[in-house]
């Protein structure tokens, strides 16, 4: 049995991190297909009444099925927090970049959707570290900005999303 997903980051130096720039991962597969239950749980959280998420008859006629909320994109390839296997769930490459920072926060996200993602699609993602900034000081603390680019595909190989994300990996300025 796995011990569950951990957000214990890879630690290392800025030079260690730079060695990961340009690395493209092997495809990482969603454990399950896009489902109406998760679509509607997310829409409920955001309180989005869009019938493309809720009205199966309408969504089938308009789109071919319930639409995956675009904002839930990254969630489809996050592994569940525990798996019945010996292998620990693999998190995003962004937090596997070795750096000194003890935590992170997202800084920006820029995503394109060439086509809709529908209920039943099973996605996989290929991730790449695009850049790691030199050390920066912000009001939150000192750390590095890590930019990644993820390409999401469905099972037939169709590119469904290109996701550029930048997070700030840092050590808080105020220690308890």
């Amino acid at each position: 049995m796995s011990e569950g997903i951990r957000y214990e980051f890879a630690f290392g130096t800025y030079d260690d991190a730079l060695r990961m720039v340009g690395v493209r991962t092997a495809p990482r597969y969603a454990g399950t297909a896009v489902s109406g239950a998760r679509i509607q749980h997310f829409a409920s959280m955001v309180r989005d009444p869009n019938p493309s998420y809720w009205d199966a008859d309408f969504a089938r006629q308009a789109w071919g099925g319930l639409i995956a909320p675009p904002a839930l994109l990254m969630g489809w390839v996050i592994p569940p927090p525990w798996l019945p296997s010996d292998e620990p769930p693999t998190p995003s490459i962004a937090i596997r970049v070795p750096l000194p920072g003890t935590t992170f926060i997202n800084a920006s996200n820029d995503v394109e959707f060439p086509t809709t993602i529908l209920e039943g699609d099973r996605l996989h993602v290929i991730e790449e570290v695009v850049s790691v900034s030199p050390e920066k000081k912000t009001r939150l603390g000192t750390g590095h900005f890590v930019e990644t680019c993820d390409e999401f595909h469905r099972a037939d190989g169709t590119l469904v999303a290109i996701n550029r994300n930048t997070l700030f990996r840092f050590t808080p300025a105020v220690q308890p």
């Binding site: 959280m45 493309s52 639409i67 909320p69 994109l73 926060i105 959707f113 994300n165």
Partner: protein, 147 residues
């Protein structure tokens, strides 16, 4: 089948101010973040972790903020539209108990003919403030209207 409003590209006026949307996010809604998105980063469910890392309490994740931005856009453009691009800058966090205040406007509309099929696109700018009028998330969004 229930019918829904269809926004025609020809009827889009530039600029148009969108209706302001205010949504107060309590602890339950923040804790829904890990449940709904599977993002179990502890800053979204563990107040002690959040405080140890410089935050007053738990905060919503990027997917929730992006979902709020999308909701503002498609509330206006209707269900025969879809988000084709969204850029968000995360300048500040929304903590449990905060309100998200979204204000948007239509800034352009374009007929894109370079691809296989022409696309009727509408560009929006949406800014999300907290209840103290601090800008936490400026966003740019492009919507495609179904013909």
């Amino acid at each position: 089948m229930k019918t829904y409003r269809r926004l025609a590209w020809e009827d889009v006026t530039v600029p148009t101010e969108l209706t302001e949307v205010v949504d107060t996010v309590d602890y339950q809604r923040v804790v829904m973040n890990p449940g709904a998105t599977w993002d179990y980063f502890p800053g979204h469910f563990d107040p002690e972790y959040a405080q140890r890392h410089g935050h007053p309490t738990i905060f919503v994740n990027t997917m929730h903020i992006a979902g709020f931005v999308d909701r503002i856009a498609t509330d206006w453009s209707g269900p025969y539209s879809r988000v084709v691009r969204r850029k968000v800058s995360l300048l500040g966090s929304f903590y449990a108990g905060d309100s998200m205040v979204g204000r948007g406007r239509v800034v352009d509309k374009r007929l894109e003919t370079s691809g296989e099929n022409p696309r009727h696109l509408v560009d929006l700018e949406i800014a999300v403030f907290n209840q103290r009028e601090e800008l936490c998330c400026p966003a740019e969004l492009t919507i495609e209207l179904s013909p």
